[in-house]
Structures are given as C-alpha cells and as structure tokens.
C-alpha cells in the first residue's frame, strides 16, 4: 500500500469525516470548549467560594395567586379555616440521605439555569414577609425576642415553664427512632416524655446541647418541645406491666432489655446516675415531618412554598450560630391540634437538637461536620485542584475543647459563611440577603444574660462547660452580627415620631459600631416633582417636614444607607394620612 494513501477507516468514521468536511459537525475541540464553558459557568463560582445566594430552585411554581399575610399586621391566619386531620406522612430517611446527600449537591453543582438566573439577577424574595419586612406570627413562628426581649426567667424555664418529669418513670415503650438509645415514659404526674440517653463517656453533651438550642430557638420564635436535662437512677424506672407482658403482640420488654438500653446510654458513674434529655410530648397528634421540597397537599392552609418562608430561610443563620449541623426535614414535626371535634389545624415544630453546639449522637461532632456537606462537590473539587494543599476552615478553627460535655465547638475564628449543614437544606439554599439579615437580627437580639440563662437551663455539672458555651455563643453571635450587618445596613424598627423618621442602627445598639452618619436618598413615588437631593444625617432621625416641605407630596420613598459603607441599603416607603406621615413599607437589602 502506498504510504501516502489514506488508511481505510470504518463506515461511521468516514461518515463523520464527511459531515465534518461539510461543516455540519463540530470538531472535537469545539465540543470540548463548549463543555468546559458550561462547566466553568456552573461549577466555577461554586469552587471559588460560598455564594451569598444559594443555587436557585424552581420556587415560583407552587405559589398561590394571593398572599394570606395581612400586610399591615403581624399575623398570618394559617390556622383557619380548620381542616380535617391530614394523613400521616413519613419520609424515608435513607431516600432523603441519597437525595440531599448526593443527588442534590450534584444537581446544584451543575445547575446551569440557576447560574443563568443569577446572572440575570432574578428576584428571590421570601414570600411570607409583611410590609415591614418581618415574618408574621403563624403556625410556624411567633415573633418573640427581636420584638420584645424575652425575660431570662422565661428562657431558663423553657416553653414548658420549668416542668420536669417526676419519678417514678413508667416506661411505656422503647424509643423507636433516632440514634440515641432511650425510651418513652409516663411520669408521676401522668405526663409523657421521651428520654434520650447521652452517649458513653460524654455525659450531658447531647442533653445539654438540646436544652440550650431549644431554649434559644424558642425565644427566637420557633415552636419547639419542652426539653430538660435530667439525671436519674435505675430505681427511678418502672417497666409498664403491659409493656413487660408484650404489648400489642410485641416481645415482652424485660429488665435485661432495659439494662441493654441503659448500657448503650453510657456507663454510669459510681453513684449510679444516668444523664439524659427528657422531652415533653408535644400537644396534638403527630402527622409527620415538614417536607422542605413540597407543601402539604392535604393542608389548604399551607400556603407558601416552604423554601420561600423567611423563618425557614433565616433559620440558616440561627443554625450557624448554634452549630445545628443536622438540620433537615426529619428534625421537624407537624402536630395536628384538633379543635372542633374532627377539625383542627397543624402546628409546625422544630425538634431533636442533639446535633448542635459541639455534639453528635455518638459524642463530640466530627471536625469537618458543620463546615462541609456530607458530600460536598465544591470542597472535593477544591481539594482536588489544589492537590490537597488547601487549608479548610475546619482544620484551623479551634474546635476541640477537651471538655467532654461540650465536644468540638469553636468559639474563635467563627465565620458564619463557613457553616454548612450535613445535607443541603432547600430553604437555606434560597437564603437571600434580606433573609440573612433577618436571621442575623434575630440572633443579635439575644443579650449575654439571655444566652447565659439558656446555658444555665442545661445544668452542666462541669463548670467549664457552662462558661465555654456561653462565651462561644456570645462570640458567635457577634461574628454573625458583624458579617451580616456589614453586608446589609442594620437599620430597623423604622417609625415616624413627631414628624421625624426614626430608626435603630442595630450594630450601634449592640456596641459593635460607633455612632455614625447615614445617607438618605429620597424620591416621590406619587405626587408631583422629584424628591429632595441626597442628604447626610448624623443620627438615626430624619425631619420629614424639612425633607419634604411640599404639602402636596403624599408619598415618599427613602433609600437609607450607612455613609461610607457598602452595606445594602434599607428602603422605606411613607405615606401621608391626615397630614401625618407613616411608614407603610420597609425593605432591607433592597
């Protein structure tokens, strides 16, 4: 064969060559470039660093046409009309792990339409905010500490007002779910409790974390069970005769079975005490977890896409504060509260806070936990690209406290942007700047004394634990406030008093910033003529009469920012009624 003669090739290859020659097929280099461009567009930003706004999901699909929030008040009447008891819903935990542990992170990493929407600047506002940029009270959330400081006694006593399980405890059943061993009991007062034992070698690590987190989340406004840290002995326990005989066809619950559960809960010290959490049964009937991905089809009052609820988005910030790394659908519970015979409404609870602060079910949390998703393509990619030389935040953060009842919990070098729950949380991923600000505002509303009261409720026997956790929560609160208040101007509680618009600068209130000046840009939204020129004011008060002297002007829009700061401004709209201005709409991070 002539060496210059082309080698015979397969039919498909010849066909491919012809198409390429005719210009109808892209050359391999073009395909490669296209794939690289698409991957670069989608994965690139995720490799560079965490985004303020997470990957977008199709959140607009299931939105109702009208909003039930009373725009001028703080009540979302979502307990009305009463509904029949919905069917119980049980999500398969392992399916959930696969979906949110592996499928969702990959989908997010390759979320090309999300990247397009981000580039296009598509809006991602929470749905259930009222005109004052606040979350209304509802079956999900009740505004508490950031509106009215909750007394420290209330925080210490918890939602159940200091109730404790009174011995003897009659064991009604073994605990059926979760990692921690335990049992369900009825106490001497006839109340039902769930008992969760602390892991071996780490007394109070789980029970303490649960109590602290539940106290603070309740004071923040979330519905939580009443949790108390308890210490009990073997003699406090009595096996229910029905259970011992084999209730409902089950095997008899023997003393050996009880001993086995207690052994898994930790070797008791010499005095024979066991450390555990007692969680009071919630009122109503449990009907399953709250699913972030879907609204409840059989609850007509479940108006909003869950991932567009601000209190669920903002929970990301509280979770970062409390290091609540295992937050997921299964850490919630919906209770049906019957009110009219068979009719009633659903109340949405958060629960199971054993994976907060420095705790995990088996003892201290792993160092990587709370900094990376269980499967985190972004961090995996960064490690791969850097040949393993990148220094992850969880390596440098001083997490290891050496205190058995605290575990691995960093007080210093905490950056709220580094926080990641174990599994991607749909509502957290939708977090907008305004949602993050709201969450930070709630966190920042807690005083040192309130935090100390929550820690005190855990009754740590190791004094180092109380001191460390209180100090850590204070420092983490301040870190959150600094980060978010530098990102979004913390100008809030705007109202008109004596003809002046007054507001609070939360960062100044907290002592994190010195008194400063503000820049106000005004525009008339109705009426005649353009608004006044930009104005710099030196205190959190603005004379509206001087700003808008025109008596015909009946509506104003003010954009207030912090002078010399890049924080996103606050926009406030005012209307004149009866000759007096009043605030009708507030938007942060506008």
């Amino acid at each position: 064969m002539d060496p210059k003669e082309p080698r015979p090739t397969s039919a498909s290859a010849r066909s491919s060559d012809r198409r390429r020659a005719a210009g109808r097929e892209w050359p391999p280099a073009a395909w490669f470039a296209l794939v690289c461009a698409l991957l670069g567009l989608t994965i690139g930003p995720r490799l560079i660093g965490p985004r303020l706004i997470g990957p977008r999901l199709a959140v607009a699909d299931d939105m109702p046409a009208a909003r039930p929030v009373d725009p001028e008040t703080f009540v979302d009447h979502d307990a009305h009309p009463p509904i029949p008891e919905p069917a119980p819903y049980e999500a398969n935990l392992y399916r959930y792990y696969v979906r949110y542990g592996f499928v969702q992170p990959l989908a997010d990493a390759l979320d090309l339409p999300g990247a397009i929407l981000d580039l296009a600047g598509a809006e991602n506002e929470a749905a259930n905010v009222n005109q004052f940029d606040e979350v209304p009270n509802s079956s999900w959330f009740t505004n508490r500490n950031h509106f009215r400081a909750v007394p420290v006694e209330e925080i210490r006593n918890g939602p159940g007002n200091c109730r404790r399980p009174l011995p003897p405890w009659i064991i009604k059943s073994a605990k059926a779910s979760g990692v921690n061993p335990g049992f369900n009991i009825e106490d001497a007062a006839g109340e039902r409790w769930v008992i969760k034992l602390d892991p071996p070698g780490y007394p109070q690590i789980g029970s303490g974390a649960e109590v602290v987190a539940s106290r603070l989340l309740h004071a923040a406004g979330y519905h939580v069970p009443h949790d108390v840290a308890v210490v009990f002995g073997h003699d406090d326990l009595v096996i229910d005769p029905e259970l011992a005989a084999g209730k409902e066809g089950a095997d008899p619950f023997t003393q050996e079975e009880l001993d086995r559960i207690l052994d898994r809960g930790g070797v008791p010290p010499e005095d024979g005490r066991y450390f555990a959490l007692a969680s009071l049964f919630l009122p109503g009937k449990p009907i399953g977890h709250t699913e972030m991905a879907h609204r409840r089809a059989d609850d007509p009052n479940d108006w909003y896409s869950h991932r567009r609820r601000r209190e669920l988005r903002g929970l990301a910030i509280l979770s970062a504060w409390l290091n609540s790394w295992d937050v997921k659908d299964h850490q919630s519970l919906e209770m049906f509260e019957a009110r009219y015979d068979t009719l009633g409404s659903i109340r949405h609870y958060l629960l199971d806070f054993g994976a907060t602060l420095g705790a995990a079910a088996e003892g201290p949390k792993r160092l990587r936990t709370a900094y990376e998703f269980a499967f985190d393509p972004g961090w995996i990619g960064r490690r791969w690209v850097t040949l393993g030389f990148i220094e992850e935040p969880w390596r440098s953060a001083p997490q290891e406290t050496g205190i058995p009842s605290v575990g691995n919990f960093a007080a210093e070098e905490f950056d709220p942007d580094d926080f990641r729950p174990t599994l991607p949380h749909l509502a957290f991923q939708e977090l907008s700047a305004a949602d993050g600000y709201w969450g930070a505002k709630v966190v920042a509303s807690f005083s040192d004394a309130q935090i100390a009261a929550a820690v005190e409720a855990a009754a740590y026997e190791d004094p180092r634990a109380s001191t460390y956790i209180t100090d850590a929560l204070v420092k983490r609160r301040d870190a959150i406030a600094r980060v978010w208040f530098d990102r979004v101007a913390p100008l809030d509680f705007l109202q008109v008093m004596d003809g002046s618009l007054v507001f609070n600068d939360l960062e100044v209130d907290l002592g994190l910033a010195a008194p400063r000046s503000y820049e106000v840009r005004a525009a008339a939204v109705t009426g005649t003529g353009a608004g006044p020129e930009p104005l710099v004011i030196s205190s959190a008060g603005l004379d509206l009469t001087a700003l808008a002297p025109d008596p015909e002007l009946d509506a104003l829009q003010l954009v207030i920012s912090i002078a010399g700061s890049e924080a996103l401004p606050t926009v406030v709209e005012l209307r004149k009624h009866g000759g007096l201005w009043r605030v009708v709409r507030v938007r942060h991070a506008a």
Binding site: L93, Y94, R264, W384
Partner: protein, 430 residues
C-alpha cells in the same frame, strides 16, 4: 413565569437523569431500611441479635458504563461484612480488570465470630466463588485450624481458576503490541501452610503445595496458536504442567495513618519477600526458583492527608541447570500487582521483572483519595540484561476509595508509549 420558563428546557433534557436519581433514591431507601431492620437499633454498643444469614448486594462501577452487579453473602452479623469481604477476597473484585472487564456474579462467605485477632481479622474459614459473563470462573476456599490471634497457625487453601481470554504478546522486552493473542488457562492448586506470627505486617509463612495449569487457545482471535508459530519457540505452548512447590513468605512493616475514618497507610514502611522452589510432577523435568521482593514506603507531605507512596518490586523465575525453558504462563508477567499501568495486562513477561512506583496521594472526602503516579517497569531474561533504555513508563492519575485501611477500590488512567489504559481493581493493594 421567568424562572419556570428558564428551567423548563433543562428539565426536559435532565428528565432521564432525574428518573435515574429517583430510582437510586428508592433503591437506597428500600435497601437501607431493610439493613437497619436486620441490624436492629443503630448506634453504639451491643446490638440486637442479627439474623444468621444476611444478603447484601454490592455494586461495582465498570468501564464503558457497564455495571458489575453481584450478590455478596455473609454469614454472621452483617456489620462484619468488611472483615468477611477481606477474608473471602470477593472474587469479582480481585479479577484482572483488563481481561475480565465484564459483569460478574460473585458470592463470598466467611465465618466471622466475635473472636478477633488484634489485627481485627476473624477466625475461621472463607469461601469465595465468582463467574463473569466472559466466562471467567473462580472458586477459592481457605481454612485455618488455629485461631488467628495465636502465634502459630496451620491451614490450607484451595483454588480453581478458569480464565479463557488471557493475553500473550511474546516473551522479553522487545515484543510488539501488534502480536496480541489470546489463550486460555485453567488452574487448580492447593497449599498447606504454617503461619508464625499473628500480626498482618510481621510474620512468616511456610508452605507447600501443588499447582496444575492447562493452557489452550482462548476465547478470542487471534489465538496464541494462530499468532505464534513453532519458530517463535514459545515454551510449553499448548502443554499443561503440574508442579509441586515449597517455600516461604515473610512480611515486616510498620505503617499507620488515620485521619478521621478509614485511611490507607500515610506513614511507615513494608517489606515483603517470597521464595519458592518448584519441581515437576509430570515428567517435564521442570525445576526453578521463584523470588519476589517488594518494598513500600509512605511519607506524609506535611500532613497525613497528603502522602508520597513509593514502591519497588522485583520478581524472578530462574530455571535450574537441568530444567528446560520455563512455561510462558509461569513467567513473571505485567499483570495483577505487577501491572505496567499504561499497558495491557500481560503485555510483558520474562524471567526478570522490575517495577518502580511513585505516587502522590491526597485526601478528597471521607474514604476517597486522589492519586497521581509515575511508574517504571522492566522485563529481561536475566538480571544482567536489565537495561534502562528498555524501561516502560506510565504516567497518570486516578482515585482510590478505601473500604478498610487495607481494602480499597482503585481506578487509574495511565498513559504510556502504547497509548492510554484504564485500570480498575478492588482488594488489598498498593
């Protein structure tokens, strides 16, 4: 409107992937739920009594989007599966990837009592069988009479291996990749051993056994008889041999490394050596000595999560003075642990084989590591004939998934003078 409109075409394109994801979710949910029920209450401490027999499917990734699906049977507590797998050596996983790249059905069983040696190895026996769609068949059985944590142990191993598509390119360093041929090898062997020492990295093993190998034209073209004529003088082409062997193997090492969970060695060294004397049982007058030496070193690069791993390996088969040339199928060859990574399995074989590996491994996630490597390999008829200009180089990278500290999945892509090769394997390995 806008977000839905932007997403709609992508949803249409991604629909098959969404279905696949849903399928995976359902499968994982059903499987894990069943496992939880079998294992009883999760968490630390004593667990409820497990069922005597647990069936656990496993899934292996396979080249060209094929899947290797098998059934793994463990006898005992399902939580002991990794130990059982290590003992039974999971036939499908230990297959030579390049010649068995096909779906496997594999099953293994091992006795795994609570009585463990300090090294975590169970006492008892192991049985392992597998069959691949390309008709590879394998069965192994191992039994040890004395407990593994005792200083001395006595046991026996038996194996039957049927491999219909092994590759042969000729003998020596100058063979051509154009002369690729197929042959079939069927081997039966049995060994008895005396073990001294209970530590996995410190011990001596004395043994004796019998091996019978029959070869003929394999399942593929060209067969060895078609490609290699008598003038090529391939020793024992088409002839079976039966031999008895005596010898010893020893290992000495000290490695450690534990980041958060399972992690292969990150620092330390291992030295392994074997010496065997072979004699014929079939009148062929064969007699040879076989030596194999291997040294490994693991050096952390400022942290245990970055490891420089080094390996040097030497294998030889030297015929006695009165022995005829050794059968081509009993020569050291670049396959299995001795694979030249950028070359096909069995590409080189001769009486001497030398291999040098240098790898940089770095931790990615949980049990997943990335690796970049360079490898040099030689074959020669004698140690004097090893020449540097005949070295075969392989460069590449891959990933390693550690199941236990010694058992791992490994996928490599290597490039060399004859192109690019992928290699996927599962088992105890470098």
């Amino acid at each position: 409107m806008s977000e839905s409109a932007v997403r709609f075409p992508f949803r249409v394109i991604a629909f098959p992937f969404r279905l696949a994801g849903l399928g995976a979710e359902y499968a994982a949910g059903a499987m894990a739920t069943r496992r939880t029920r079998q294992r009883g209450f999760p968490g630390p401490g004593p667990q409820s009594a497990p069922p005597p027999l647990a069936w656990l499917p496993y899934f292996d990734w396979a080249e060209r989007a094929r899947f290797r699906v098998g059934l793994h049977i463990t006898h005992g507590r399902s939580a002991d599966r990794p130990q059982a797998t290590a003992e039974a050596a999971l036939a499908g996983g230990k297959a030579d990837w390049q010649v068995e790249r096909d779906r496997h059905l594999a099953a293994s069983a091992a006795r795994t009592g609570d009585d463990r040696s300090p090294a975590g190895r169970p006492v008892g026996s192991a049985v392992d069988v597998s069959w691949s769609y390309s008709d590879h068949r394998r069965g192994t059985a191992e039994i040890e009479i004395l407990a593994r944590d005792s200083a001395i142990g006595i046991g026996g191993e038996a194996a039957y291996v049927y491999r219909p598509n092994l590759l042969f390119f000729g003998i020596g360093p100058e063979t051509s990749s154009d002369r690729r041929s197929i042959y079939l090898a069927e081997e039966g062997r049995g060994d008895l051993f005396l073990r001294i020492g209970s530590q996995p990295l410190m011990g001596l093993r004395l043994g004796a056994g019998i091996s019978h190998i029959a070869v003929r034209g394999g399942a593929g073209v060209p067969s060895i008889e078609e490609e290699f004529t008598p003038t090529d003088q391939v020793p024992f082409m088409g002839q079976s041999t039966t031999v008895v062997r005596y010898g010893a193997s020893a290992v000495l090492g000290r490695v450690h490394g534990r980041l958060e969970r399972t992690q292969p060695a990150s620092r330390g060294f291992e030295v392994r050596g074997e010496g065997w004397l072979y004699e014929d049982l079939d009148g062929s007058a064969l007699e040879w000595t076989e030596w194999k030496g291997e040294a490994r070193a693991y050096v952390p690069v400022f942290a245990d999560r970055r490891v420089l791993a080094l390996r040097g390996l030497y294998a030889s088969a030297n015929p006695g003075a009165d022995s005829p040339a050794l059968p081509f199928y009993r020569l050291p060859e670049s396959a299995g642990d001795l694979l030249f990574r950028a070359f096909e399995s069995g590409r080189f074989r001769d009486r001497q084989l030398v291999l040098g590996d240098i790898e940089y491994r770095w931790w990615l996630w949980e049990w997943l590591w990335a690796v970049g490597f360079a490898q040099l390999g030689w074959v020669a008829p004698s140690s004097d004939a090893l020449r540097f200009d005949q070295v075969r180089e392989s460069y590449g990278g891959g990933i390693r998934a550690a199941v236990t500290s010694t058992l791992l999945y490994r996928l490599d892509i290597a490039h060399g003078s004859e192109g690019t090769q992928t290699d996927f394997r599962f088992g105890a390995q470098f």
